[in-house]
Amino acid sequence: MSGTVFKKYLERMMRSVRFQIGVLYTSVLGAILLIYSVILYFNLSYILYREMDANLERKSLAIMKTVKVYSRLLEPPPSGEMLGIKRVIHIYDVERKELIQWPVIMKVDRAWKREIDRLGLDRDYIAVISPKGYVLNRSKNMTGQAFKRLRAVFREEPADKIRVVNAISKDLKLRIMAWPVINRNRVKYTIVIATPIEPPLFTLKSKMKDILFTIFIVLVFTSALGSFFVANIFRPIAEITKAARTISYKDMSKRVEKKLADAEIIALVDAFNDMISRLEKSFQYIEEFSSNVSHELKTPIAIIRGESEIALRSPKNEEEYRKAIGIILEESQRMLRTIDDLLLLARLDYRPNVFKFEKTDLVAFIAEIYEQAALVAQSKNISVFIDAAVSPLIINADKLHLRRLFFNLVDNAVKFTPSAGRITFTVKREGAKAVVAVSDTGAGIAEEYLPKIFERFFSVDRTQRATGSGSGLGLSIVKSIANIHQADIRVTSELHKGTTFFITFPLL
């Protein structure tokens, strides 16, 4: 049970960005440090070996030089050479009386002793090997182990090249240099010097363990530090998450603070806050809209109910009943219109594909509208004019709804224009567009209201609406129908002088 819980926790942790980033940089850093240490190790050991080999070379050269000096002083070669070798190797070991005590040679002895001290030759193993592989001479310390190892390394025929080998066993670690002395293209003998591998190299090896441990500590420390920084970076995200959880339609006032955040996070916070603002606006709009809808639908119901209750309260005469029924009928019709308008708006906004478009001549179409408008306006003694282009202007139109657009405009024009006023239709071409203007000599709209007239349920004078037929949706419908025709709608107006609506259609 606890095992699965732990597994789930582990899975969640592994999927967190914080963990992944942590693993990534820890492994990258670890790899870099490791590669760096390995390179450093090999580089250092190479330098140390080179140093050691250079020392061995110096020693070999010193030996050869001194052998030469001795042999020249003692006897002519080759016997003198062998004596020289013996003296060089055994300067410390051999009993004093065995050695020739000439003052000249004593002088060389002293110089050679100094040289040995300087070069550190006394700790080395020295041997001279014949071309056949026999040991001609060897230092006194080269016994047992050391001798065996040396023999093992040089069992084969000594080469005529300088060779360097490592001979490493548990208790004896040697670096061996074999230096053949060549005379007339023949190897006379080979000087072999074996020197214990110097402590620095072993120090380096043991240091490597320390280095690896240090790398481990550094990684632990940096991963902890990095984890802290990453957590810091992600704290605003946690705040956004928290804020997102608390935001609901009941309270949309909450925003995420963006103090001390990084640029990318600030952009995220801004986008998030903007989204909440837009949502808040949408919610406000929906709230207002539904409140308007309920107001527009409840008012007729209140009137219908009131009229019915009054009529039923006490006996009335026929005229009173007729009047009540008339009001009820009128209100139910108004309600129906409001509902129809709302459904039409919903279709226009959300299902524009249900409309049927066909090629339509706008000039002929407006001429038809003009005739019907003239009939409607007659009752109010308003004259209607048309000024249309001669050639046809073809647009893509849903005739039924386009008719609705212009009737709504005509309705408004007639409603707000006093008798003896004028309504004028103008149809003309403007580049690749056709423009229809509907203007009246009516009441006009105050400038402050102009941006609002296409809003749903907006009405400059609601008294007009209470008595007239409008629901406050007429111009919203006009705008939505224009939208599905890809037409622009614009309005200019002057109070007490009149209003003009311009609708601009794209020509086919």
Binding site: S294, K298, I303, R305, G306, S314, S459, T463, A466, T467
Partner: protein
């Protein structure tokens, strides 16, 4: 006889309330907007006002503030199609609140209570 002022932009609504209240013996005066209502209140003693909230130009809530400042004694029943809690939010502290869609009996009851 108590005098009641009905302030509402909808003539049908005013018609219903006038007939109802007149039939039970109240003196009823009508106003279709806040300005007319203000004039009437200034010139005539009014006992109770039925005040609509949503009206063109001057809203019922502004009208209420004016009435409460200059005519402290008058009783006011807020009368709207808005739900009661919304009415109370828009206009706080009125004598009573009435939802227009609730029928005339409830209105009569509230008017009687306010006038007693």
């Amino acid at each position: 006889m108590k005098r009641i002022l009905i302030v509402d932009d909808n003539s049908s609504v005013r018609g219903i309330y006038t007939r109802l209240l007149a039939s039970v013996g109240y003196d009823v005066v009508e106003a279709s907007n806040a300005c007319d209502a203000n004039e009437i209140v200034k010139r005539n003693p009014i006992d109770l006002i039925l005040l609509d909230i949503r009206m063109p130009e001057v809203d019922g809530s502004i009208m209420y503030e004016v009435l409460r400042t200059f005519h402290k004694g008058v009783k006011i029943i807020v009368s709207s199609v808005y739900p009661l809690e919304r009415q109370k939010k828009v206009i706080a502290g009125a004598t009573d609140y009435y939802d227009k869609s609730r029928g005339i009996d409830e209105l009569l009851q509230k008017v009687t209570k306010a006038c007693s």
